[in-house]
Symmetry: C2
């Protein structure tokens, strides 16, 4: 490996000879002295070079440096409190241009999001944008660690399926040798299969695919889904309890590791929520938002995005909480595999989790009784024949179980107060975006 010091470690390095590598952020090419701001994955540092009056190859290199070029430099590290950037600088003794950039950068700080996504690899060079993915790394590792400490099994369910995983809508079709396959819309059926297999508790973080033609800030045709499923639950309450603990563990890890940087680059204070999160049955939530003067303009029993914002505002005012579980959704607007309430068959043992006004999760207890499950599928107009591979999971015994699916991008978007999934996705995919 190149024998370099990470820039973040310079402040703990004694004055004297050092070598660093990274890319050129800015050049100030003055008559008597030249300055370069060099950035690597950990930070930025000022390089200084007083021009010599004789032949000066370093000065010539710096004069020709295009921003973005990757270089390796050696020099003397000096503490200098006058230097705004970290209170130190490196006086150059050697500079090697490893990879030259084209002089014209195609995007600027004020470029449109679409233009920035065209040049995502340059867009991600800003410390703010690369921070997003270091935060996401911490978030995911904390979630996996929470699960692994509790003996969950990680699964990788197939993304190629012979039939739809959720519904016939929003389905991508694949040419599969002489036939057809479909891309998994969720790992739903295969998470449940693990329960029939006796795995007990499982999780998966992986891609899902939705042929959703919409262009909202919250939808993508491919996104990362965070999924868990657990056996021997009494109701969806057990799933909510696990999920809220999981989120507290994950947000605590993020706040501890990145709280200050998040404040610096996003002006956001990461709030670790208190336990338990508030829970409000959907019918009650609709009454509450109606009392606030908002009638949800839907013919069905569902909430709408404005209703979710209204109930979040109510919860923030009343409980000082950013999260709320809306529970007991009507069976009419839930998938056939959600278990219904014993006392009231018109509602399900299910929930959505709303964070700062936006839905990030659907969870539920699943119907595990084969005859009830088959009947519910038929009521939704599904053909049990087409679902036979899934229904088989329930014919040979299966414990009561439930789980949730959570969009990783939505969590990142809401955590960092971003307006759009595109900002927090490594490479966004939508109806008219398949590149880079």
């Amino acid at each position: 490996m190149t024998d370099r010091i990470l820039i973040k470690n310079l402040s703990a390095t004694p004055e004297g000879p050092v070598s660093v590598s990274g890319w050129v952020e800015t050049v100030r090419d003055q008559k008597k002295v030249q300055f370069v701001v060099l950035r690597d994955e950990s930070g930025a540092v000022q390089l200084v070079h007083p021009r010599s009056e004789e032949s000066d190859p370093i000065a010539e290199s710096i004069s020709g440096l295009a921003a973005g070029s990757f270089i390796t430099v050696s020099g003397d590290l000096k503490i200098d409190e006058r230097v705004k950037l970290g209170g130190l600088e490196i006086k150059l003794s050697d500079l090697t241009v490893v990879s030259e950039a084209i002089a014209e950068t195609p995007i600027a700080a004020d470029s449109s999001i679409d233009k920035r996504l065209d040049w995502r690899f340059l867009d991600l060079r800003t410390p703010r944008n690369s921070l997003i993915f270091r935060i996401q790394t911490t978030l995911e590792h904390a979630m996996r660690t929470y699960w692994i400490e509790r003996d969950y099994v990680e699964i990788h369910s197939p993304k190629l399926m012979a039939s739809p995983s959720e519904s016939n809508a929003e389905l991508f079709e694949v040419d599969y040798f002489e036939g057809k396959a479909y891309l998994a819309q969720s790992p739903q059926f295969y998470k449940q299969m693990a329960q029939a297999a006796g795995f007990g508790k499982i999780f998966e973080i992986g891609p899902v695919f939705r042929a959703d033609p919409s262009f909202t800030s919250r939808h993508a045709t491919e996104f990362v889904s965070v999924d868990a499923e657990i056996s021997w639950i009494d109701s969806h309450e057990d799933v909510m309890k696990m999920q809220e603990e999981l989120l507290v563990a994950a947000l605590t890890a993020v706040k501890n590791k990145h709280g200050e940087e998040i404040k610096t680059y996003f002006d956001v204070d990461v709030v670790v929520p208190s336990l338990p999160f508030p829970r409000i049955p959907l019918a009650e939530a609709k009454r509450i938002v109606a009392e606030r003067g908002y009638e949800v303009p839907r013919a069905d029993d569902d909430m709408d995005p404005e209703g979710e914002r209204q109930i979040a505002a109510y919860v923030a005012e009343k409980f000082g909480h950013e999260f709320v579980f809306l529970t007991d959704y009507a069976a009419s607007i839930r998938p056939f595999y959600h278990m219904r309430d014993d006392a009231d068959q018109s509602i399900t043992r299910s929930y959505d989790l709303i964070w700062r006004g936006t839905e990030i999760t659907t969870g539920a207890q699943r119907e595990h009784r084969i005859e009830v499950l088959t009947k519910q599928a038929q009521e939704k107009g599904l053909d049990p024949e087409e679902l036979s591979f899934y229904l088989d999971f329930f014919r040979y015994g299966v414990p009561p179980h439930g789980g949730f699916g959570m969009g990783l991008g939505r969590v990142m978007m809401l955590m960092l107060h971003q307006p759009n999934l595109r900002e927090v996705t490594y490479l966004f995919r939508g109806p008219n975006r398949l590149t880079p």
Copy 2:
């Protein structure tokens, strides 16, 4: 949650009342006393019920129990060293059938692999098969922890692409609204994009797709790829060094957590390899296997599977090592993006990693000089126009970098001495298998 004790924890539980839940493995319905072996995700325990001479609903339940049914029982835990299964049993006071199984099980221990895969959710109920996925969980977590402790960033690259990620062969085509998309054959281009973005060190564990019509024990149309890519390397040696350390960390974690179970269920001693792994240039490897009497029957410069087995046998005999890096593959048989040797343009700075005779990884330093990269693409008959989105990554500066891709299933197969990827994959996908 159901208030149950995991079966593995019974041995540390005092005698007295307990409740356990799981599925019925066997029933011995004798005249005076009934025995049930109950299994959960953690182990198995014997339940005992002496028949009463009066009305005995528990006895009736047990007589009607089909294997596979999920039940919850309460009773008195008794230490009894005569009981082969863990030296304890539970004398029943209550039994609830939670979910009845069909009496006829469609597979048996001697069913064909294809039949077992048709009923994978039952096949996975055996302690041996469920252990595979607990081991995989430990392996993956150890790898991710190794990376995260070293400040790697986790990425999720898109699986939907506008053009091929590796080659025009083995490509799945997707109907994408009015156009077409392709499934990623690897995260290769997007791992490299992270280097241009200045991420430094990244990893991804996720699905990749190959429209490969072959039916070998080592190929699948969808599999989980373990990928890493790092900046500022001097050569492929730096990548090998990281990968061997990673594997030592992962295998150490597996051996510590599951070594005894693996011995019990697979009769395999997990060997933590010594560092460094042997390295042999491919040309020398071919001379060595030729000296052993095997001439690789290929027109090109590549190894073949038998050659890989032969060189592995040589390495085992000579160095007592299960792993070997074969290095310096000919440029003619490597992708255009592998960097060539400075002194000999006919060979690449690349390697394959062979474990016990089977290839599990290809790694390389990547060519990052745009003019060389473009020329190498053209020499391979590729159209730089089609690759323009990828070639753009190299026009604005990029550090020297390299990485590897490793098939998770192959690692599991070789670790557990299994004959086939199908045995170690949650749900295998091949040319004629898309279900369940």
